[in-house]
């Protein structure tokens, strides 16, 4: 029979053994670099059709996905797409989890403080999806007490609301769909978002919403790159120039954005790609 002290000794051996095991695992995982240099890891949030979305088989598809494929081909690297929530893209880039961001991201000065951007590849603007019975008929009526405005967290709409809206009540959502639902159910008066998505959201909710597509702020989208990575930056700018010259953007626009293009032309709102 074991005396208590033997049992204790055995127990402490086990404890030390398992702690050493834990230490090894943590040490290895802390030191190993998970990144394989030859693969181009592109981060995007696959919840923004027709730019970033998934098809029925759950494969990434859309304008940005095809851009990423063309970019990887241009660089001669394998492509891996990581689906990351929009607000988490910059942190992922800064911690080296991804190499570039192609996620319909606007190049803003605030973002430039933490990451670099390529040349712009698309111009668009922030506009409003307004609920049908709301008193708001133009952008000037936005910032009033008693008005509630929905924005999606981390987007330029959120930044705009945080800096320019003083009197209205700002509601924050992490999902575009929730923000649209708020407007269509008249829980919020307006949703500040980009023109193309606003148009699509209005299309889907024509009975309950109106789209005020005139831009309240112009902005341009670019590819995000980690700071001080000049080589990759110039390669990407090269790619954008050749891709644009060879009509890559035109054919993508034709494939994914035909409806929006026509509608925007009819409304006389410029549409650059």
């Amino acid at each position: 029979m074991k005396t208590p002290s033997h049992a204790r000794l055995q127990f402490s051996k086990q404890v030390i053994g398992s702690l050493l095991g834990l230490l090894t695992i943590l040490f290895i995982s802390a030191c190993s670099t998970p990144k394989d240099d030859s693969t181009l890891v592109v981060g995007m949030e696959l919840a923004y059709p027709p730019f970033e979305m998934t098809d029925e088989q759950n494969n990434p598809t859309g304008v940005s996905v095809e851009m990423a494929q063309a970019l990887a081909k241009h660089l001669g690297r394998e492509l891996r797409i990581e689906n990351i929530p929009f607000a988490g893209l910059i942190p992922a880039l800064r911690t080296g989890k991804i190499d570039v961001i192609i996620s319909s991201m606007t190049a803003t000065d605030e973002r430039r403080e933490s990451i670099d951007f390529s040349d712009a590849y698309l111009s668009t603007g922030l506009c409003l999806l307004v609920s049908k019975n709301s008193a708001i008929t133009s952008i000037d009526e936005l910032d009033k007490a008693g008005v509630s405005i929905a924005v999606k967290q981390g987007t330029t709409g959120h930044v705009y609301a945080a800096s320019s809206i003083k009197h209205a009540n700002v509601l924050l959502f992490d999902k575009e769909s929730a923000a649209v639902l708020e407007v269509s159910q008249e829980k919020a008066d307006a949703f500040i978002y980009d023109q193309m998505s606003t148009f699509m959201n209005w299309k889907r909710n024509q009975e309950t919403t109106t789209a005020l597509l005139n831009p309240l702020k112009k902005e341009s989208w670019a590819i995000g790159i980690a700071k001080s990575n000049e080589a990759l930056l110039s390669e990407i700018n090269d790619f954008l120039a050749t891709f644009s010259q060879s009509g890559g953007f035109d054919s993508l626009g034709e494939k994914y954005l035909k409806e929006q293009k026509e509608e925007f032309e009819k409304l006389g709102i410029p549409f650059y790609f």
Binding site: L26, G96, Q153, D174, A178, K187
Partner: protein, 261 residues
């Protein structure tokens, strides 16, 4: 070596306080070391000052979270009590309403309940205030768990006591009032305190319907300042500041009950 082991009644006792203090310190340092390793490995540029600027957002959010949790606790106790009674009811429709409610709520994610309740049921009912709906949703959610806690508490009262109650001529109502409920309540208290701690943490999901509680505000500070992790530290500390005392309270109550019975 025996310094690192808890005193058993037979072993000679060494200074007890110091012992626990040193072991706690060792454990704390040991865990901190790994956290430190992990943080140095990610090569991240920390920027605390921009987060500190927004301290008011953290405080406001924390107060809302705590406020919602307390109001919810009150209502979920009522809901839980009714559901537990309903489930014990001999009237079958009531019994099944209570069981279906409890199983549905316990069997589905809170996130799904929040979305469905807020955008479908509340919309149909014409309730627009998101804070009111937040409390209603959380009360219904937490109430189902509390119902099970109460049920366990009621069932912990021995059969012999019920028979004795019958023998001395107590009615069913009197049996509940004087025999079952006082004991059931006492037996449920530790689990209730634990449930309250869960409630505070679970209320973070109300951020999805734009309730300006602690988590949403912290996330907002993250996105405004383009920082990634800084906000999560005040967030963790803020939740611990309320859950640790609640869990400690639960332990104290547990010990007290053990001595009484």
């Amino acid at each position: 070596m025996s310094f690192f082991f808890e005193d058993s009644p037979s072993s000679p006792s060494s200074p007890k306080q110091a012992k626990h203090f040193v072991s706690f310190g060792c454990a704390f340092l040991f865990l901190s070391f790994f956290v430190f390793l992990a943080f140095t490995a990610i090569d991240y540029n920390w920027n605390w000052s921009s987060v500190f600027q927004y301290k008011k957002k953290f405080i406001d959010g924390w107060l809302i979270s705590v406020g919602i949790s307390f109001v919810t606790l009150f209502f979920s106790l009522i809901v839980g009590f009714l559901a537990a009674m309903g489930k014990r009811s001999t009237l079958l429709p009531i019994k099944y309403v209570a069981s279906i409610y409890i199983e549905l709520v316990r069997g589905t994610p809170l996130l799904v309940q929040i979305y469905l309740f807020y955008y479908v049921i509340a919309d149909a009912a014409g309730v627009d205030n998101r804070y009111v709906m937040g409390v209603v949703i959380m009360s219904l959610f937490s109430g189902a768990y509390i119902a099970e806690i109460f049920r366990a508490g009621i069932e912990s009262v021995g059969k012999s006591q019920l028979l004795s109650a019958k023998a001395i001529g107590l009615s069913s109502k009197q049996t509940y009032r004087f025999v079952i409920i006082p004991q059931a309540l006492r037996n449920s208290l530790p689990a209730l305190a634990g449930q309250f701690a869960n409630l505070i943490k679970d209320s973070s999901l109300l951020s999805t319907i734009a309730i300006r509680e602690f988590t949403l505000n912290a996330q907002e500070v993250n996105s405004i300042t383009y920082s990634s992790f800084e906000s999560y530290f005040p967030l963790a500390i803020g939740y611990l500041a309320i859950t640790l005392p609640v869990m400690q309270l639960s332990r104290v109550i547990e010990n007290k009950i053990r001595f009484e019975t």
